[in-house]
Subunit: 235 residues, 2 copies
């Protein structure tokens, strides 16, 4: 492996368990309105809207909009599809902010803290800066900077998002590793010249419904971030 | 005062003592080449090139370039003006990176740490992201994010730089305070709608050669960041 200076991290699914958090909040917030929902189904339906919403920006059909705004549009679609379009504005706003309150997988805070002793670390996520800040505060992530979509004003897997992160840290693409639980993200990062680390999050979309093995060639494959810290000699 | 959610900080002069650090490094790096310089004069001469260089970007004469690149151009001008144009490329590169190794004023790490318990905090500096990251690591600044010129792709005091920082933290301009040791910075922030805090750094440009009193109306005036933390109830 070449000399690595920086590690970039995907966040949703790779560092935080979006599905359980969104499902729990959806159930809890809709119950007082007399609405009983399958929280996981709401979470999955929202996530199904995720790529199409970003594709509107990537393709140029929509000017760059923060992920919070796209999430809100997606939420409105989901509530309509679930036949609960009468949910009030305040509840919608609060439910949308559930994305700022996601809980990390248990290895992440320790793994990041160890990795940071040796490398510059930053999220390279499609989430906006304030969302990343809230997740970091909630889960004890100590980032050097928040990089990703809002800095690049475009969405992954467009190559510019990875290249913008590397440029911000003054490193060539091959001096950075992209760490993610999704093969599509890693394939795009590799195409942009970055090294790649696959982290298995087999339960991301429900038990056994995440990727347990990368379906694209990667430089390293680990089960969690503490294993990555061990492999990279960060003790 | 309205409800404040975020604090933005100027960095050069306000948080770090650029003059002493640059003077010391210039002296130390040039001595092995047999060059004896007045380090403070070199530092001041570099700083004199600072506003004109950024003005080339603000005016549109130069596309956005990171401050590291402008600093390098300024350094070449200074070495020529001092009649030491024979300094080699490696020394120039290293001397330019002295801006990444500036030392903080003694109150800063503690002050920021206390302020962060209540507010989102970020630099809103003209320095580039990697420069801010290195200063943070060296001096123990724990930022929520690195905002400022590289995110806005323009230089203070253009209003877009302050507004871009506020937007990244999802706050209206009046929900943020700009903290700086320079009246010109605070006047521009106030014109963009932000609240303002003046920090006296009377020795920034040499003993008694910094601003000890703001020359523009400000919301708060303090002697250091621990006093600001006291005033804002951050214990």
């Amino acid at each position: 492996m070449k000399e690595i200076k920086a590690l970039f991290f995907d966040v949703f699914g790779t560092l935080v368990d979006w599905r359980t958090s969104i499902a729990t909040e959806a159930r809890a917030m809709l119950a007082p309105l007399g609405i009983v929902v399958d929280g996981e189904a709401v979470a999955d339906a929202g996530r199904d809207q995720y790529q199409p919403a970003m594709e509107d920006v990537r393709s140029g059909r929509l000017p760059f909009s923060k992920l919070d705004q796209l999430h809100r549009r997606n939420l409105d679609v989901v509530l309509k599809d679930f036949g609960i379009d009468h949910v009030d504005e305040a509840t919608r706003g609060n439910l949308n902010l559930a994305w700022h309150r996601l809980t990390a997988w248990p290895d992440v805070a320790e793994g990041l803290s160890r990795l940071r002793r040796t490398f510059r670390i930053a999220p390279c996520s499609n989430g906006n800066i304030s969302l990343m800040v809230d997740l970091a505060r909630r889960n004890g992530f100590a980032w050097d900077a928040i990089l990703g979509a809002e800095l690049a004003r475009d969405y992954k897997p467009k190559p510019g998002v990875y290249l913008c992160a590397a440029a911000a840290f003054d490193c060539r693409p091959e001096e950075a590793l992209m760490v993610a639980a999704h093969s599509s993200d890693l394939a795009a990062a590799a195409a942009a010249g970055l090294g790649t680390v696959f982290v298995a999050r087999p339960d991301e979309r429900g038990p056994g419904q995440g990727e347990s093995v990368a379906s694209t060639p990667v430089d390293l494959s680990v089960r969690n971030l503490t294993e990555l810290a061990d492999l990279l000699g960060c003790h």
